[in-house]
């Protein structure tokens, strides 16, 4: 058979085009009567106060960092899990050691208060 990724490529293309169809259809049929009151930003019925692009809380950055560490760990665990059938038992212990090192990292983050939402 052909390369399965050609199918995936075509699928991505068609999968992007098909949601565009209802939007394009709606852009043809729907009325278009802009006025400044309708287009103003929503803020519970009052005029907006201050800039819309509010300050980014630093706590989000901490969570993103912790996520990054564990995501890279899971990327490394994928080939380990896949090849588990063909490897000797020692490889299982090595994988467990790897997971335990990262669990120590998680426990460090926990104790330091990095996982709190202040």
């Amino acid at each position: 058979m052909q390369n399965p990724w050609i199918y995936i490529g075509l699928f991505l293309l068609v999968g992007i085009i098909i949601p565009i169809i209802p939007i394009a259809f709606s852009a043809l049929i729907a009325p278009r009567k802009p006025n400044p009151i309708k287009q103003s930003t929503y803020e519970c019925g009052i005029e907006t106060v201050g800039e819309s692009w509010v300050q980014f809380k630093a706590q989000y950055y901490i969570f993103a960092l912790v996520f990054l560490i564990f995501d890279v760990e899971t990327v490394f665990l994928f080939p380990w899990a896949l090849a588990l059938n063909a490897l000797p038992f020692f490889a299982v212990l090595e994988g467990i050691l790897f997971i335990l090192i990262l669990m120590a990292g998680l426990s460090f983050a926990w104790r330091k208060g990095m996982l709190e939402w202040v």
Partner: protein
Amino acid sequence: MNFWADPIKIIYDWLMLTLTSWGLDGAVANIIADLLGIVLLITAAMVLDIMLVWVERKVVARFQGRLGPNRIGPFGLFQPFPDIIKLIIKEDITPNGADVVVYNIAPILSLGSVIFLWAVVPLASTIYGTDLNVALLYLVAAGALGTLSIIMAGWASNNKYALLGAFRQVAAMISFEIPMVVALLIPTIIAGSLSLKDITASQSGGMWFFLFSPLGAVLFLISAIAELGRSPFDLNEGESEIVSGYHIEYTGMKFGLFYAGELLHAFTFGGFAAVLFFGGWHGPWASQYPLLGAFYFIAKAMFGYWVIMWVKYTVPRIRIDHMLAFNWKFLTPVAFALLIITAVAHSLLKGAGFWPYFLGMFFSNVLLGWVTLEILRATTHKQRLAVETPNPVAHH
């Protein structure tokens, strides 16, 4: 070859024959046949999505003790069609100051990222998009595009509430990806392959992975519900809190795409739970008649979707800090402990025959569940004592 035994191959062969007889080159004919199959599959997914609107509204109504839509068509079955017509003819209001390109791409990417997932789902033994040998990795990657579309929607709307809702929702979604990916590694270990077709095929004969790893199924279900952004993890849609979060400034069909994308995403995750843990398309006589296998798959996916809806309409919303604490302090350690136990049990018992393997895996899961509950009980006991013990105050 009998038509019912292998319908897709027969249609495909006929199509290739016709196209090459028109003088087209083999590769081009292949691409055209592929395109027809893709359009058919995506259209089927979209039609299913439309029916899911009806299913969702009826089920939520019954959970809340009322009837749901029952005017339009028998049992309200045609209700989604007026919904779609209403959304299409609504005016498309773009807020001023919005980032127009990103604002328009976000709903398309949101629904698109769910449609991409259907390329690798095996509906039956011979009915599937394509047999990718890294299908599970593709699932995680395509699901991450949905997260991207949320932050695009929140940022481009030029609205504080949308931005805050998008931040919180994305923080929750990326956090819950860790237990979800680890829960996905468990069928990988048991089946020895990332390909969804192989995972389903290795569940033949009634040996569903749910029996080998019930804790893995529960873990996948919980983290999938959080990934979907559905209640009880739907801070972004908290209608009473931040007024609909990141899709606050979307009207008409763009909002329709977000909503339909969420429903289809929930059904797709029900489908994954079915494929990974509940035997996929397996059932009586499913090997000989692939269409029957597809029916079993849809039924199991519908059951998974029903469980997701059941959780949504029963449990109240969880606060963002509780949600993140639940993930990082409970689900992630449990997920990794489960991975360790599964890897050890699988490596020790894989050659030992069916019953030792099944009992070993099942009871290792039960053991981990019991240890987790004991640790939880001890922790909450300590917390409760700290609150309840009266402080010694000098009164009489």
